[in-house]
Assembly symmetry: C2
Homo-oligomer: 347 residues x 2
């Protein structure tokens, strides 16, 4: 795959592409958006903006980070359910089902919550956060939106016989394995993968955007049982990958297996269309969260994944209203881009 990855189309030109924030009929703010759509060979078959900028996967790496749980037999040996595997791919809302599944993974691995390296934060779910506050309960590491991934990493360490201590650090075997998965699927050589520390404390990885797209294409279309298990866990249990009101969850529900998608912090989305051998990666240049779901839905619409009734069901993500403190609608967020360079694709 490493060789194929260099054959990206030199004809794909960056074009102005944006998500616009409109108030009173005036574009008040504008988020530049970069999109790359690649096939399994690494060819850019469609794009918007600049498809080549170095981009951290952030949490969009989670499907790749969950893969060793299948391939190393952790799922089988510990008896992890498909829903629990989906939670390992999640940036979850901290709803009771998510927290219970994270605790179940830890229990099956025989490790305590105190070993989680992610920092505590209140559940993203406003309902769950309020319920905790009313009960006088403090946010714990298990409520971190990445706790499923961390529980999975701990389970991997246990089954592989590695000391779980420091599993989040770059030099630990767990993180070296994660890095090798990024290399394997993106085709980017080790010395060209950039890394930093993620919001939850583990290593995060950056590659050119089109390589990220290619990694999702290959992962989704792979005939191997490992990636197939991860993708089917995500599409069969979309609630576990996000939660109530989340675009990952809603898009996978609506698309019924045609797409698997994953949000990343700083305006990232990655995903694949397994049956078509395509992958995509989206980066809102400024990292703005409010633009990335809009860009996701537009991208899937352009790729023909979503029809009119799907788009209607996803309206809150596709073109969200802006409301003020009086709960008046004062504007909207709307897509202002199309994908270009699609000559070889049936639209």
């Amino acid at each position: 795959m490493g060789e194929h990855a260099d054959r990206t189309s030199p004809t794909a030109k960056p074009t102005m592409s944006a998500v616009e924030v409109v108030r009173g009929g005036v574009v008040e703010s504008r988020h530049l958006v970069n999109v790359a759509v690649c096939d399994e060979s690494g060819e850019v078959v469609a794009c918007a903006g600049d498809p080549r900028g170095m981009t951290y996967y952030r949490s969009a790496a989670k499907p790749f980070q969950a893969l060793p749980l299948v391939e190393e037999g952790v799922v089988e040996r510990l008896g992890l359910s498909a829903a629990e595997l989906a939670l390992c791919c999640a940036s979850h809302e901290g709803e009771p089902e998510h927290v219970a599944a994270a605790r179940s993974i830890l229990a099956k691995a025989g490790v305590g919550e105190e070993l989680l390296a992610c920092g505590p934060h209140p559940p993203f779910s406003v309902t769950a956060a309020r319920a905790m506050a009313h009960a006088g309960e403090e946010p714990r590491r298990i409520h971190n939106n990445c706790s499923g991934k961390h529980a999975g990493m701990l389970a991997l360490a246990v089954v592989m016989g590695w000391d779980p201590a420091g599993y989040h650090r770059a030099d630990h075997p767990v993180q070296r394995r994660m890095r090798s998965e990024i290399r394997r699927w993106s085709g980017v050589p080790d010395d060209a993968i950039a890394s930093g520390v993620d919001g939850c404390g583990v290593v995060c990885f950056a590659v050119p955007l089109h390589r990220m797209a290619a990694s999702f294409a290959r992962f989704g279309a792979s005939p191997e049982s490992g990636p197939r298990a991860v993708v089917s866990a995500m599409t069969a249990h979309p609630f576990m990958v996000g939660g109530s009101g989340r675009a990952c969850t809603d898009v996978m529900r609506v698309s019924e297996g045609r797409a698997f998608v994953k949000l990343g912090a700083e305006g990232v989305y990655g995903g694949g269309l397994p049956a078509r051998g395509l992958g995509f990666a989206i980066k809102v240049a400024d990292g703005g969260r409010r633009a990335v779901e809009v860009a996701l839905v537009r991208t899937l619409e352009e790729l023909g994944v979503l029809g009119a009734s799907d788009l209607a069901a996803l309206a809150a993500h596709a073109r969200p209203e802006l409301r003020n403190t009086r709960d008046e609608v004062v504007g909207e967020v709307r897509p202002a881009f199309s994908l270009g360079d699609l000559p070889a694709m049936a639209r």
Copy 2:
């Protein structure tokens, strides 16, 4: 002033300018930034990015919106203090001093809190919001960061003999007066001022960015007693204009009257350097809040308003650290622009 405003320099060229978000040595996200610096004539004397885009003032309009309180004798007749006038220019943190001052304005005007048109939200101050939550107190309209402006608008209506009902609507005499102030100081004709509904429910106004800069230049350098009273209230009571940890407050404390500055939502800052007859306006193109304080400090540094010790005192605004849920420093936000086209200025 309307005639002067057309003489903006045609030689000011847009240049790439940004605030960068860095993680692991890689620029993860990039906020494009537009800055215009104008003199009283409306000439663009320095700029970065595009100085001409239509831009909503949002809360950066508050100094102009407070002016009628002085000019119509509301301050004098109701005995409003300079600190209370400063609060009318504020996007405040909802700290006890702010809430008390807003209540004092309403009491002096003889109107109740229930007449405030702004919607409720918890105080921006985490400390104040926690204290309310612990006391079981629900957020009220008085805690809205714009409650000082709204209290001032109600006071204006009372003194002018206008029915306060609907004072936030575009066709009410209060809002027609606000619009006339934008026209007066920006020099933009009425039919070229765009308007929408702000987060707090009142009318908000948009003009080209350089016209906004010119409005601050003229306001700050005006010899008239009205603008002088507003500017000196802001610079003498910077805490009332923002609050603990806020850039408006910290910059005005440090600059000791050399500059008055005001934040607006969606990545806006406006301000003036009264002794030099200059005004500036900043717009983060995507509206990103985390970039606007960085852009403000860089702009004031470039204009020679802030020296080395001032910049050290403002480090948390100038180049903020990024911390993760483990409270580790994982990156930073940094300025990546300079002002261009400054031939006529002593730096």
